[in-house]
Structure formats: C-alpha cells, structure tokens
Amino acid sequence: MNLSQVLPTGALSCPWPTAIGATKVSGHRMAVSGYCVKKCGDSPQCHATDAPKGENLCGHGLSFFRHDVAGERITVFGLRGEKSKNNRNPAIKDALRGRSVTDAELGLWLGAIEKLLDQISGDFKSRQLEMLDPLHDPIRLAKQIQQVAEKVVLSSSGGASLDDAIEKASPELKSLVKAADLLSDSFDLLSIYFNPESASYSKSYYMSLHGLLRKLVGIFSISDIYAQGSDIPRIYLSGSFHRSVPLRESFKLVPFALITNAIKYCAEGPVRVTINELHHTVEVAVESVGPLIEPDELQNIFGKRYRGKWARKHSSGSGVGLYLADIVAKANGFTIKVRSSPKGRETNGIPMATNRFSFEIPLQGANT
C-alpha cells in the first residue's frame, strides 16, 4: 500500500502538513503555512533534502521532521519545534504562531500508521495463504505425473537414456512428456512468483549443463499434436562444454524461462541456444529474431509485469517470465544480460531485432 496514494484520500488522519513522494497534503489540525508557500512555492525544499531523521531546521528557519514509514520518506514541515522556537525573526515568529509540535506527538501518529500498515500487510498475507493452500496438492500431483510420464516413455520406447527414449517415443507419448515437464516447471515458477525466497532453498549439486540444456531443447522441440495450427520454431543447441558445474535445483528455470520467452516472441527463423566456455566462466545464450526491445526498455525488461512496447503489439502476456528468470538467476549467483540488435526492417508494423539473452556461470569448482 502506497502512503503517497492513501494520505490524500483523507481516509488516514493527517494532522500536519505532510510531504510524501511527490504528494503534499495539508493537515487537518494545521494547513500548510503561508510562509512556506511564499518561500518554497508548491514544492517544499525541505522534503527534497537528505536531512537526518527527526527534527531539522529548514533554510528559512522553520522546523521540519523527517521519518521513514514502510519504506517511504515522510516530511512534516512548516512547524515550530525545539530548534525553531527561539527564533527572534518577527516574520518567522509570526509564521510559527500556533504551529507547535513535538517529536513525541509525531512519533505517536507515525507509530499508529505503522501499526495499521502492519495489520493490513498481515491480513493480506493470511488471505494470500488461504488462497495458495489449495496449490499444495496440484504441485505434488504435477511432479508425480512428470515421473510417471518419464517411466512410461522409458519402458515403452526402450531407449538407453530418457533423451533416447523420448526420441524414439510415439507423438502421443512425446506430447505427454512435454506437457508433464512444462507443467511441473510451471508450478516451480509459480512457487517462486509467490515466494521469491524459494529460488534459493535447495543446495547446489553438480549438474551437466549441456545435458540439462539438451533435455530442455528436446522437450521444447516436441510438437504438440493437440495444438492445431500453432507452429513452434525450430530450436538448435550448439557449443561444447561437457563439464559439470555446481548449481541449485532452481537453476533449470532460467533457461526454461528464456527459451519459453524466445519461442513466444520468435517472429522468424529458429531459436538458438548456445553454450560456450569463456575465460573462467561458461556462457549460455538464447537468441531469436523478434520484436525490438528499445534501448530505454533494456534495463526494465526484468521488472515485474513490464512488457516492451513492441512485445505488447506482438502478443498478449503477463510480463512475469523474465522477472522470474531474473530472480532465479540472482539466487544462483549470476545476472542475465540482454541485447537487442535491430534488423532494420519491420514485420506487421513491428521493428524486428535479434534478441539475445545470456548469462555466465563461474567455473570455479567445475568438474571434468
């Protein structure tokens, strides 16, 4: 809940003139001082300064009080406090008449707001918990379906490994494995959406990065026989890196989210997944041709619910895939980089670009 949006509504008691964010609210006990308006106009300068918490003196001789509530900076200004009460300037004395306030009075008011916010937050969390509780069984069942699908494919296709068995399986079985895998991974992402902390729960185990990517590419490449009319682009995996690296269980969700994103926005050509050993790191990149990401959008593309201008024109979406990938990447100790290189042409009025999402994993501790 943003205090800067709630305070102006009058629903919360605001006894003194208060500035919060870009908002200025007049108090019900005392309005904004005419002296403040005369000296600072609509934007009280005291609110813009980096003053310490508690009572401070503004450049015009009036007291202002700085506090933080729920992460928002609050300035209660144009008042007579301990620091301004002995000011001899007649204009200021006049301006401060009847405008006394103490830090203790302010403390009571701010304390009450904090209690209210805590109560609202607590209630929200309880409601959220109630709504999420039914997820417990579906998550478990999705995992079970995934395991059963893999066992069925292994036993009926007779491959030496799961990848082999999927390769040899019938289209129906392939679709089953794909759907089961995507369902299980989607639930994992959902858990992270509601509880970002969960991305860092598990310990690290040595994983074959190439094996993991090969499996993901294999799964995504399976045509869904039941989705008529929807073509998925070809997905290629290239590059050679066959060492195992220590990674958390959640790591797989990063390439999962990036490949999902690339497939969704791929306007032409294939999706290319590459894995290459660099100096002391291994780089994984997912590249495809799709809607241009404008330069000023690049730093926001991992924000929750953020979607680029051209992506919005291309297709509908919720803007959480890259947000979740970013959370998981950070929990695993790396960041995702993005580059969008314009192709210099448009498709359906949307400028096209080669979009490349990549990340690097350190190689200390990698096994041969």
């Binding site: 969390k125 959220q128 918990l129 999420l132 997820l135 417990h136 069984d137 998550i139 478990r140 995992k143 079970q144 395991q147 994992d188 959902l190 858990s191 959406y193 509601f194 509880n195 902390e197 969960s198 729960y201 598990s202 310990k203 185990y205 269980e249």
Partner: protein, 249 residues
C-alpha cells in the same frame, strides 16, 4: 660348609649387582613399554585416518554406516524399498511425538515433511521440530520435503534445512541427496581435518581421544558416548563419534 659360606661371601659383588640392576632393568622396561605404547598413538586425527585406511582391505562404505530417517505422513512419496535394496539404512516415521524428538535427532540424515507429522501439533509441528533438531544436533543433515515452497510463511522451515526437494522423490534424486549428505557428514578425512583444526579440543583431551580412537579402530568397535573425554564440547564430541563409527567398519 665353611667353604660354601666362603663361596657365597665371594659372590658379594654379584648380589650387589643384582640388587642394583634388577630395579634399573625393571624401570627401564617399564619406560620402554610406555614409550612404545604412546608412540603408537598417532599425532593427529589425519594421521590416524590415513593409517587405518591404508591398512584396511576396503575403504569404509558410508552407505553401511549412515542412518537415515524419513519423517512424512505419506511415506509412499519416497522409494523406500528401492533405497533399502541399494543398501541404505532407512527408518520411516509417519508421525512423531515430542517424546521421540531425541531419537530422531540421532540420525545422520532426515527427510522431513512440514505438515501433519507431529502428533501433538499438526500445523506447526514440522517447523518446531526442525528447530529442535538443529539445537540438539547441529551436524545432522536435513532435507526439507514439502510442496509448500510457494508459502512465504514456510521460509523459516526451508531455510533451516540443508536442502529442499519436491515430493514425490525419485530414487535417483534420493540417492543424490543421501550420498552428498553422507559425504559431508561422514567422510573420514573431512572428520579428521575438522578435529585437527577445531579449537574446542584441549591438547590433553585430544591425546586421550586419539588413543581411544586408535583402540576402537583396532578392535573394530565404535566408541560409546560415555567413554569420550568429559571435556569435549558438542561439536568435537559429534565429530569423534562419527569418526569412530567410520573407522570401526
């Protein structure tokens, strides 16, 4: 008769020599035996482990030693039969009561569910149990197994564990977790190194412990808890017990 007496009198030197040499030889033999005994005590735990591993025909299999508990109201979520066939020592509990917390804390590894596992407290029991286990046995390895990773209220439960996995668990995943934990907790070289570098072990207790562990390795019998030197704090005590179990295999 006089000749006999004279003969004995002539042997005064022999009697004196025997009177002096006998205790000297005795003391010397005692010192030699004591030095032989104390020099056979390794100077460090690492030295002890290396000597045991060199002399044994097969290195200890941690699988044989490790004790694993699964605490979950739905045991079918775990491939128990498969794990037992593979040689792991598994004990399962659908529910535990508060009086069993002590027993549970003695396992090397626990797979622990969050809900409906503590009879006295079905909703919060798992969360309280994990904290109790941490307090009782800081070296125990705990794998939290619950589908409630989405729940922010469960953060403390998962963060208190050493690993977190979804259910149902496949045999492959179980083995991966167990082998990693066994290696972390019972690897003899790692245990020896920790004992050698711990500051919680005064030198007198260290020497006594080295002697006891050597003997226990020789006899292939793990040490009993009450035989450990009394000055040991919780962590070196736990390390020593684990090392003794490993060396006794």
């Amino acid at each position: 008769m006089d000749a006999l007496i004279a003969w004995f009198k002539g042997l005064d030197w022999l009697a004196n020599a025997l009177a002096v040499l006998t205790p000297v030889i005795g003391i010397g033999a005692f010192i030699w035996r004591w030095r032989k005994k104390t020099s056979s005590i390794p100077k460090s735990f690492t030295e002890l482990v290396e000597s045991v591993i060199k002399t044994s025909l097969m290195p200890p299999s941690l699988k044989q030693i490790g004790q694993i508990a699964i605490v979950d109201d739905n045991i079918s979520d775990f491939p128990v039969a498969e794990l037992k066939r593979a040689g792991y020592n598994i004990k399962t509990y659908k529910h535990v009561s508060v009086s069993e917390f002590d027993e549970i804390s003695k396992f090397d590894i626990i797979f622990l569910d969050m809900l409906d596992i503590v009879k006295d407290d079905p909703t919060e029991g798992g969360l309280k149990l994990i904290q109790t286990l941490r307090d009782k046995n800081s070296r125990q390895r705990i794998c939290a197994v619950s589908s409630k990773k989405f729940d922010p209220a469960a953060i403390a439960f998962f963060k208190n564990a050493d690993d977190a996995q979804n259910k149902p668990m496949s045999a492959q995943k179980c083995v991966q977790v167990i082998d990693a934990f066994l290696s972390e907790k019972l690897d003899p070289r790692m245990l020896a190194k920790e004992l050698d570098t711990t500051t919680d072990l005064p030198s007198v207790e260290k020497r006594s412990l080295l002697a006891q562990l050597s003997e226990s390795a020789l006899k292939k019998a793990p040490l009993a808890m009450d035989r450990l030197p009394s000055g040991l704090t919780e962590k070196p005590r736990s390390l020593a017990m684990d090392l003794s179990r490993v060396l006794a295999v």
